[in-house]
Symmetry: C2
Subunit: 267 residues, 2 copies
Amino acid sequence: MAAWARAARALLLDVSGVLYDSGGDGGVPIAGSAEAVRKIKASSLKLRFCTNETQATREKFVKKLQGLGFDISVDEVTAPAPAACRVLKERNLRPHLLVHNDVVPEFAEIDKANPNCVVIGDAADNFSYANLNEAFRVLIGLENPVLISLGRGRYYKETDGLKLDVGAYMKALEYACDIQAEVVGKPAKMFFESALAELGVQPQQAIMIGDDIVNDVGGAQQCGMRALQVRTGKYRPGDENHPRVKPDAYVNNLAEAVDLILQQLHE
Amino acid sequence: MAAWARAARALLLDVSGVLYDSGGDGGVPIAGSAEAVRKIKASSLKLRFCTNETQATREKFVKKLQGLGFDISVDEVTAPAPAACRVLKERNLRPHLLVHNDVVPEFAEIDKANPNCVVIGDAADNFSYANLNEAFRVLIGLENPVLISLGRGRYYKETDGLKLDVGAYMKALEYACDIQAEVVGKPAKMFFESALAELGVQPQQAIMIGDDIVNDVGGAQQCGMRALQVRTGKYRPGDENHPRVKPDAYVNNLAEAVDLILQQLHE
């Protein structure tokens, strides 16, 4: 951690793999993370949670994290589904949804009749062959197929192991239809820019902390922010030799990151 | 159809979309195709069926086609599963199989304990989220992940509509693991070369007839063969503007192709 940390006015935290490890049982907090969030809130730093989580509405997601001991509220969360809804409305797009059942309510106000695009999220068990075929047929039947993806993550870690994320299925549909998806979650620039706007800070005043070398670290750096990678969640030692992305620093976990940053601020 | 057709000594026929349209009910023959196969067999031309079909053993597949009225036997068929078995044996690879239940017997003699690679075929309903995760975990747990794909088709047509093919799921695993699959079916050069060897002809003496612009037409042309695209099966008008592949001729169906070629031979 170096002098640049002293310029920090805001922290952006990824959630899954940084605050907690998700899982069918609701997940488990990562040691020290709840206390680290409290320390940030007691400091002069602003805070925003930036998640690509699309397995639940933000309300449900936040309630789960509160249950795990985190001080977090819905209006502190930047997530892909509301970003997608803005895009759909602006462009008069009517989506066929291939998403987790629990995130469907985020699209309640969107017209879904006679779809002219597909929105794909981390649908988990909804990624059946039948459902993927249905989304494929909507796309291949359109003159100008539009595929909006709520993220481009490869995989994530749950308590019972690694799971494929939305990015893998986005690639399957891209290949089948010979198209490029539009990504509205991390690492899309628009996503980080909207979080920075919500915080009211410049990129060079913000530090992103995440476990995903490409989507958290690379995405934030592309926006002009500093970014730390935690060695929790989906972190793997091979990440430290990533050919394109190099974090501004590695930390063992969120607790260590926050202690180091606060230490710099107080020097 | 031009003078080059007079040099033909052998025809290679794709099966699904050329002989018949597959489907849950067993499929339906394409009008005139059974008669066209009989005409080839009555002519001086050699014949080989080249399929990426991996939803059944060759025995079962051939029996189905015989039931639809086609004159075809197992030893006339070049298919990806036997090609994959040769590769597995040569390289001491023990596969985790993500394939259709009905093609598993093709791998009966292959050691599958403690897998050190994944073989993916057109698994259809076996492409569940759970099964894809399982294959992903095998790959991501290997020091040198090897993914062997029985094809790279995007989709195919069944009687009840278009279905995603193995290529889409291959891409999902490639992306998730940041690897490149090795394809043993069409359009792999090795696949066409093995069919030509089985026929005992040179590439310039052979004509491929298929409905897939990339895997049939492009793959065969890469091997130095002429190739026709039929306007049946998965053919779509947009194929005629393909940015990279241009068939040597278009024909409405196999019957027309065979009549035109035989006409040239007799001139």
